[in-house]
Amino acid sequence: MLTRPAPDDRLPRLTRTAVDRVAAVAGRADVPVLAGLLYRSGSVALGPRAARVWAPTWIGHAIARASADFPRLATDFTAHSSGHWHSWNRVARLDGQPVPRHKVYVSPLPEHLLEALPTLFETALRRGVPGFKIGASTEGVLRPDKIVLYLRDAAEADAVAQDLADALTELAPQGVPFTGQVGASGIVSRGRDPEGTSWRAWLIDEVASALHAAAAEGGDVSGRALERLAARDIDTATWWPHDLAKELAA
């Protein structure tokens, strides 16, 4: 059973800081720009050093090296690489099963990515995770949501998230804002994709719209925006998906 994060835990704090900061410029920009700022919050900046250190070729080698110790990855999953992501999807797909929309994010700092991979692969194999992906580009490694696992139901996702959070306590977290923290450090978190979009894209668009509307009214912009979001049943304390947040509250 997952525990409800406290407001001063890493991810609620990072998320609230991002909301407060973007609120300060909400009157000067339109919703897409605000959404872009929120979406990028928590990313490591791309500069010459990062481009050199985390070149896509290095990322490819790192993944190849780590996955070599898990031969079942090659038999149980089909792997696919592109400019944005390295992805693995289960070979066996059963018709009629729900689309995996429950997400588990794993967010080590870029320098700890290599150390996190064995735990990721081991957990994905042991827990029968339907699919997962890892950022394949420099930008993909610098973003907070650099590793995403996809699960078919909430219970599976919770179990996988808790396993990963327990196993990765030693690694420094980067942390994915606007996702529900699992475990103490903030290196693992949860989301759930609404129909046709992704969890963070949807939630961030809601937050940006609320900030933009609140800015037009003046006063405490982030406070008003959070009230608007709460009125739409968004849990602005934990940023967990709605029904999961209710379970946590109960």
Partner: protein
């Protein structure tokens, strides 16, 4: 041409420029990074477009027997005499390896062009048209590129292409396209300084098909230019301003091309060069269609992220590929612009070609935001129309698309300039809502944003990066 017809009679040779590379204990780790392990040998040929092949050390020892031309049987017998082993089982084990190497021309039939070591076809001091050859830039088996100078001292490039299946047509077609562009779109492509078709080329595929001298183009491939912007700009928003301008520059270049009666037919980042001022130059017109000439139709290829859905559908059906039209090319240019904006591909294509072609026909791209760019609804609308699967849903011309894209840039044009400084302050002083935030002028805000971003790129501090983005809008 007559010669031995059975494999047993054919004499093979390991060309003199083929290298056999085995990892030593000292550099084993470095080789492991490229997938080469102890007991394996890489067979490679500098200048070949074929990738290196990895073979077992035993097979590499057998290859050494081909340093002098000999039949496979002779090589196996010599190998077994030196190292021991049963010739029949050695032949059975080695045969697939030898076949693979001969297909890659790493092991060649004696007396053919492939058996000859790679040697430049031109020499410094040779002349092509008004250009005197300088030093080589690239020498590969099917072509060369050299630096040169015109009689007036201007820099030039000289291309040599060998006569392959389309080699001869490539240069003549390119010369026709460049001639057309010199008349109707000066500056859009390199100037043609000389073209010498080789009329003596015979059946051998290594004969030269022609030599083309072109004015020199300063610039880097457009994807590299976009990546460089993203990597070196102090602020992401500044990068996106430039990337959007570059996107318009690319669309404008193709508008001028189509208005000149030329369709490129080979859209990819390496053929779109960008100089330090952001000027776009198109190169490589070997697959171009040139209206009202003998080159109005062109050979086609289909593959990669820039192939349009109509061509992909034809490739999937196994039928002949259609002639590329300006509206087809609009899709390819939009896919290229997508890469400029996101530093990534339009679609995450499967390595399997048929699956990839199906994706091109059916799959819709993610949003710009999901691909790592700042959301830009106006620009995304333009690109999605240009990327419509049905060509009739796209803009009627490349010019119409370029104009729409330019309007989209103007609508979203943000603000801000600034200079970079190395920060030495505690970040809490820069928090929004604090005294500094209240008092900062736009110029100071821009400087602070740059300084914070500089700090963020040096340290990896995500908080500094977030604050930099916010200050850039203050």
């Amino acid at each position: 041409m007559t010669g031995p017809t059975s494999v047993a009679e054919r004499r093979y040779v390991l060309p003199a420029d083929v290298e056999l590379l085995a990892p030593t204990e000292k550099d084993a780790e470095a080789f492991a990074d490229i997938g080469l392990r102890a007991g394996e040998v890489a067979v490679l040929r500098p200048g070949s477009r074929e990738r290196p092949r990895v073979v077992p050390a035993e097979a590499a020892a057998l290859l050494e027997c081909f340093r002098r031309p000999c039949t496979v049987t002779d090589a196996v017998l010599a190998h077994c005499a030196q190292w021991g082993g049963d010739p029949v089982s050695t032949l059975e084990e080695a045969f697939p390896v030898l076949v693979a190497l001969s297909r890659a021309e790493l092991l060649a039939l004696d007396g053919t062009g492939a058996a000859q070591a790679l040697a430049p076809r031109l020499q410094p001091g040779d002349r092509v048209g008004s250009v005197t050859i300088g030093e080589p830039l690239r020498v590969v088996r099917d072509g060369e590129v050299w630096r040169g100078r015109t009689g007036l001292g201007e820099r030039a490039a000289v291309k040599v292409v060998v006569a392959g299946a389309t080699g001869r047509g490539l240069l003549a077609r390119e010369a026709a396209a460049l001639g057309r562009l010199a008349e109707r779109a000066a500056g859009l492509a390199p100037a043609l300084l000389g073209f010498e078709p080789d009329t003596t080329a015979g059946d051998d595929r290594y004969d030269v098909s022609g030599t083309l001298a072109l004015s020199w183009v300063d610039g880097r491939p457009v994807d590299s230019a976009a990546h460089r912007m993203a990597a070196t700009k102090a602020l992401p928003l500044a990068h996106e301003d430039e990337a959007r301008d570059l996107a318009v520059g690319v669309a404008d270049a193709y508008s001028r091309l189509h208005e000149s009666g030329v369709v490129h037919g080979d859209v990819h980042p390496g053929n779109v060069l960008v100089d330090a001022c952001g000027t776009v130059t198109l190169i490589d017109f070997g697959l171009a269609r040139v209206d009202d000439t003998e080159f109005a139709d062109a050979p086609r290829t289909a593959g990669g992220e820039y192939v349009d859905p109509r061509t992909a559908a034809a490739a999937l059906s196994g039928g002949p590929l259609p002639q590329v039209t300006p509206v087809d090319e609009q899709y390819s240019v939009a896919a290229l612009i997508w890469r400029v904006l996101t530093c990534g591909p339009l679609l995450e294509l499967d390595p399997d070609r048929a699956t990839a072609m199906r994706q091109v026909c059916e799959e819709q791209p993610l949003s710009l935001l999901e691909c790592g760019a700042t959301t830009w609804p106006e620009g995304e609308r333009v690109l999605r129309r240009a990327l419509a699967k049905d060509p009739t849903d796209r803009y009627p011309s490349m010019r119409a698309m370029a104009d729409a894209l330019r309007s989209a840039v103007a609508e979203a044009r943000p603000r801000r300039t600034g200079t970079r400084e190395t920060p030495t302050c505690d970040l809490s002083r820069f928090e929004v809502g604090g005294p500094m935030w209240q008092r900062a002028t736009p110029a100071l805000s821009a400087d602070l944003a740059d300084a914070l971003f500089d700090l963020a790129t040096r340290t990896g501090d995500t908080d500094a990066a977030d604050l930099a983005r916010i200050w850039s809008l203050h």
